[in-house]
Symmetry: C2
Subunit: 330 residues, 2 copies
């Protein structure tokens, strides 16, 4: 090969290489339209996983954290865990005749959701304690699994575990195939998510971080058990999320995914780390296929985050435009 031919050959190589990447890329994240969010994700992952890149990050430091409600699965018209609590209060009512006259239980039994809401945070905590505590951890796991097998989303008429976002399932798998450890970091209860997170998201129990109630070690018929106590241990929301990430994971994540102002500090903590970092917010803009809500929603309010996304270089998913499909095929 003469010198000129060699130069032409070498000049052509990057293009050949790039076109090969592009071809392979077409198969990735198939439920994402090829708009900015998909491109940002692919570019970021290429950058941190390419050993020749100055931004290369070793496998053991590839941590990606995901909020759950509204980020991985549908949180409307009410948090799934609240729906569980209400169902469980109804089921336990026969053992608690006093609930017929006592708020917020009376409201739940009468289906008066306005009165439930009016009971405020105090009422909510009472409902959670009545429905989530007083049993062993193993018993609670069975209760959650049984409920999840039967319960249906009121709008989509399918199990809640099928109201998860297909594009996010693909993203979780895509990140894991590039060496990322994927974590849930949710305001929801850890032991409400663990029983199904491995099957549904491919996320094992030890990678589920969330809110916790206190448990205590006890013995029953000579066998050790962990009893769930009616006392809050930790609320994994807002500024609690970086605290929990530090406590449970002990590394600052490379990537953080959320959808509401409850995820603001998690994204801030993640993306203010040294080197390449990635933050993404799912903006619910699709009233037809899912729900549309943001600044004024009482569930999953996204207000501060929408304003902060641009100055912080966070990617915002416009659900309507950026996602080809919302839920998995049945």
């Amino acid at each position: 090969m003469n010198r000129r031919r060699l130069l032409i050959f070498l000049a052509g190589c990057p293009f050949l290489f790039l076109s090969r990447i592009a071809a392979a890329d077409d198969d990735l994240l198939p439920s994402w339209n090829d708009t900015t969010p998909r491109q940002n994700i692919l570019n970021f992952v290429a950058r941190v996983t390419d050993e020749t890149s100055p931004h290369f990050v070793p496998v053991e430091e590839r941590i990606a954290v995901f909020d759950n409600d509204g980020t991985l699965w549908c949180e409307q018209p009410m948090y799934v865990q609240l729906s569980f609590a209400l169902d469980r209060v109804k089921r336990l009512a026969s053992e608690h005749p006093e609930w017929k006259t006592k708020q917020p239980f009376k409201a739940v039994l009468e289906g008066d959701m306005k009165a439930v809401a009016a009971s405020g945070e105090k009422g909510l905590v009472e409902l959670v304690m009545a429905s989530h505590t007083g049993m062993t951890t193993d018993e609670f796991t069975a209760i959650v699994s049984n409920w999840m097998a039967d319960a249906q989303h009121p709008k989509f008429k399918r199990p809640y575990t099928e109201c998860v976002y297909q594009p996010m399932l693909e993203l979780l798998e895509y990140l894991r195939s590039h060496g990322f450890k994927t974590y849930i970091v949710s305001g929801g209860g850890v032991e409400f998510m663990r029983p199904w997170a491995l099957d549904v998201y491919g996320i094992p129990p030890e990678q589920v971080v969330g809110s916790t109630i206190k448990t205590t070690f006890d013995r029953r018929d000579g066998k050790p058990v962990l009893m769930r106590l009616p006392e809050i241990d930790f609320i994994d929301d807002k500024a609690g999320k970086p605290v929990a990430i530090n406590k449970f994971i002990g590394r600052r994540p490379l990537m953080a995914f959320g959808n509401s102002d409850g995820d603001f500090e998690m994204l801030e903590w993640t993306t203010s780390g040294d080197g390449p970092r990635f933050g993404l917010l799912v903006h619910h803009t699709d009233a037809d296929r899912e729900y549309a809500y943001d600044r004024k929603s009482s569930i999953g309010r996204l207000d501060k985050g929408l304003d902060a996304a641009k100055p912080n270089s966070w990617t915002v998913v416009n659900m309507k435009d950026d996602w080809k499909t919302i839920f998995p095929d049945r």
Copy 2:
């Protein structure tokens, strides 16, 4: 092959197979003498990792938990973390003139260990708070790393990170090579162990469970930080260990390793699970090569555990007889 020959051939196969296993086994856990503990470990791991065994356990459920002080590294003549706290109090003394007259600080500065001990748990907590809090998590990591690089064990005249047990390092590696996820579950502080646990034990930050102090999310010069507060969050000892295992790991371990009564409930919780489980206690019996202590020691007391080992089928390592070497070669 005629029928008789076939039978002879088939009858010979298991022996061939067994002798192959035995040969390979000789290379495993080389710092362990071939006494009961080594045999129990190898047999248990063979049983749960053999796909044809009725006791086979899928990879994702292979969790092994290790106490740290006295199980993975030397805890005598005092917990390494206490030694760190004392050194740090001395270093900070110039900023705290009041410590010259205030216990337990006065005792530390005068090297009066009896008076330090006499200050009891309350005094100890004061020393930990003064030495472990008031800085960001990143600052504390740097403080621990710097101290660990210089500090030496008073008897062995080597860094504390080289006063780890060679047989246990081999065990950690052996278990990981058989698909186990290895966790530390220690009474010591999580953020005292994380800075060096990956290098020394091959255990990443997210697999270090321990005692925690409270942290809070804050902003400094516009950047988010986590500040360490002078308040205990959780003590990961005794009945706290199963609670922490459930909270952080969310699965009951297959194997648990400890050395003191602080590990009793962890072993009890682990080995009372369904199916095959394994518990092991390191009994410090080697005054020449390390230390000899058990029922009457104020550090790492092993009393209840020694009595409970047999009825619970826990393996007990007699350090003097069962370990060929104690520390890694330098």
